[in-house]
Amino acid sequence: MSERLDERVRRLLGPAGPEITCEECFERIDRYVELELRAGAAGADAEIPGMAAHLDGCPACAEEHATLRALLTSRPGS
């Protein structure tokens, strides 16, 4: 299957595994990002199951996660 088609089907079907809600995502995103930066994605996913699946399925939460992560790794003043 082509990448473009696969992406559309993936967006339609969403993540396969169990996922947390948008509210739970906001509650725990600070902890999750710090874990990612300290222990890597596997460590963060192990401590907060369902977060990675939710970020895969929810574009808005994924954008906020990426921004928070970028902010924490930015240099002061940037």
Binding site: R10, A16, G17, A42, L71
Partner: protein
């Protein structure tokens, strides 16, 4: 199919190289913020400055550059920092110390700024909720060798979208996943919440997966848990 690229297990090098914040003792924030008088006023002002930095970062990252946007972006950042401050102070007791206080605070500003930018981008734009966008789900662009396989899958998907979903599920699914409408923008237009709409989206996706599985498509497991 549908596999996601494996996430790296390596911590970001930049995170190791640059400390997040020099003085990030939660007590340093919480005590004055819970007090009265000048100490609280100073802490609130410092917190607002922190939130404004985060909001400016979020707006600049998502909103792009350009001198003509500078004033608009600054307005959005200021408003987002103000809103984030109110939201944060209202939830101060919810801080459990699971992250640094500054990281916890940043997320309020990032949320407010991201939502404000998305709403601004869609301001005045029509959201074609009744459009049958899913009917255009075609296998254009795939190689002839793939067409038989993908054609069958797309036909099954179109059937599942047409027959297996409620009209509300269908319009939310199409708007968010095919038309790229941000879920918080859609929630505002429909007079509901982002969480409620995501639940609708989740239920629709689960129905699609179940319908495809019944027709013999080898997808990932369908026994997903309900979002709580």
């Amino acid at each position: 199919m549908l596999s996601r690229p494996a996430a790296s297990d390596d911590a970001a090098p930049a995170a190791r190289a640059v400390p997040v914040a020099a003085a990030d003792d939660a007590a340093r924030w919480l005590e004055p913020l819970r007090s009265q008088g000048p100490a609280r006023e100073r802490a609130v002002a410092e917190l607002h400055a922190l939130l404004l930095r985060a909001a400016r970062f979020a707006v600049r990252r998502a909103g792009g550059g350009g001198a003509h946007l500078r004033e608009l972006h600054e307005d959005l950042a200021q408003q987002s920092a103000d809103d984030a401050l109110v939201a944060l102070l209202g939830k101060l007791d919810a801080f459990r110390g699971e992250s640094r206080f500054t990281t916890w605070a940043y997320k309020f500003a990032v949320l407010e700024a991201s939502v404000a930018l998305r709403r601004h981008a869609w301001q005045g734009r029509e959201i074609p909720l009744e459009r049958d966008g899913w009917l255009a789900l075609s296998d254009g662009g795939v190689s002839p060798g793939e067409q038989a396989q993908t054609g069958e899958l797309l036909a099954a998907l179109r059937d599942a979208i047409a027959d297996g979903l409620t009209s509300h599920q269908r319009r939310v699914l199409v708007a968010v996943t095919l038309d790229g409408v941000p879920i918080d923008v859609l929630a505002e237009r429909l007079g509901t919440t982002r969480g409620a709409l995501y639940k609708t989206l989740h239920d629709a996706r689960r129905r699609l997966r179940a319908a495809l599985a019944r027709r013999g498509f080898d997808l990932d497991p369908v026994d997903r848990e309900e979002p709580r």
